[in-house]
Symmetry: C2
Subunit: 190 residues, 2 copies
């Protein structure tokens, strides 16, 4: 998506060959009208595919997921990051290790908001190593729901997230695919 | 707001005289179209008051804040909850102690997204003891920005949040004000 690539070029900060900050319009400060365009674009890609719920992970995925869910006319479910295990039968949890941030957390969902009849569209801001998305898929499988795909704003295509997910049969859609980043700039894949 | 009161009556779970769960449409599963109505209602209350930015705290405030910011045509800034102090000059932090959850965190904001010319509307899902909002106000004061007010979806009016904020001259607007909750039901204030 040209508009997103342009904005990443203008405002994105390349902190290292693998770290891109887009704090000014996606992660910390959010441009609502632009985010609506992005959320709608993800929704349009998955329109007509029977999506019953949009799922995201707190908190940077919430804004695009909300607009995608709005466009598709379905509810959004926000997976929570917990630090400790919840000993409750009505809650599903799975551990996610984030190599990027060198942290781990328990991705948590109330069982009642996903049923075996749901067809889930996952939405997030970034796809890099695919750890968070893979964790979400583990939770979805426990509910016997099915997956329409993963829609992200920005894919770091030089990291293995897409391969991992496509290897599990998940359809991946990214609005901007970064092939490489360095001092010379950010290079997008078509 | 009648529509919100009705939905709280239908779907809210009173876990104790002070704890209300609205997981099915606000905190965990989100109804996007309904949330847009709520965000717009907050925006309308503060329309014409010169708001330049909407500020919220991750993660349950993001959805209503996003729609309020969209309606007002201004950016949204998401304050982050960090566990450790960031030793950076471009970041502002303040400790918030949550009595409800018996936890504390460092509310964190990049300095560059708020300037002394900003007039900030704070938006959150709940107002109870006002700890989070008071923390956000401390950060805003450090930037010398001014505050248009606080807009929340649900106020627990039997807790001291409103009094604390109004005592500091902050205008507080709540879409639903709960006077008391018990086994007999949820009782709203006009």
């Amino acid at each position: 998506m040209k508009a997103l690539e342009d904005r990443i070029q203008q405002e994105g900060l390349v902190l290292s060959p693998s770290i891109l900050k887009v704090d000014s319009f996606i992660n910390h400060q959010v441009d609502p009208a632009f985010m609506q365009l992005l959320g709608r674009e993800i929704a349009r890609h998955f329109q007509g595919k029977g999506v019953t719920k949009v799922m995201t992970i707190e908190s940077s995925g919430i804004a695009p997921a909300l607009f995608a869910a709005m466009e598709l006319g379905v509810p959004m479910v926000i997976l929570k990051k917990q630090n400790s295990e919840l000993l409750k039968t009505d809650v599903l949890q799975t551990e996610v290790v984030s190599y990027t941030k060198e942290t781990s957390y328990l991705l948590t969902m109330a069982r009642k908001y996903i049923s075996d009849e749901d067809h889930i569209l996952l939405v997030d801001d970034f796809l890099a190593n695919g750890e968070a998305a893979t964790g979400a898929l583990r939770l979805i499988r426990k509910t016997h729901a099915t997956v329409a795909g993963l829609g992200v704003l920005i894919e770091k295509a030089f990291q293995p997230g897409r391969a991992k997910l496509e290897g599990q049969g998940i359809s991946v859609f990214a609005l901007a695919r970064i092939g490489s980043m360095d001092e010379s700039g950010i290079h997008f894949l078509p």
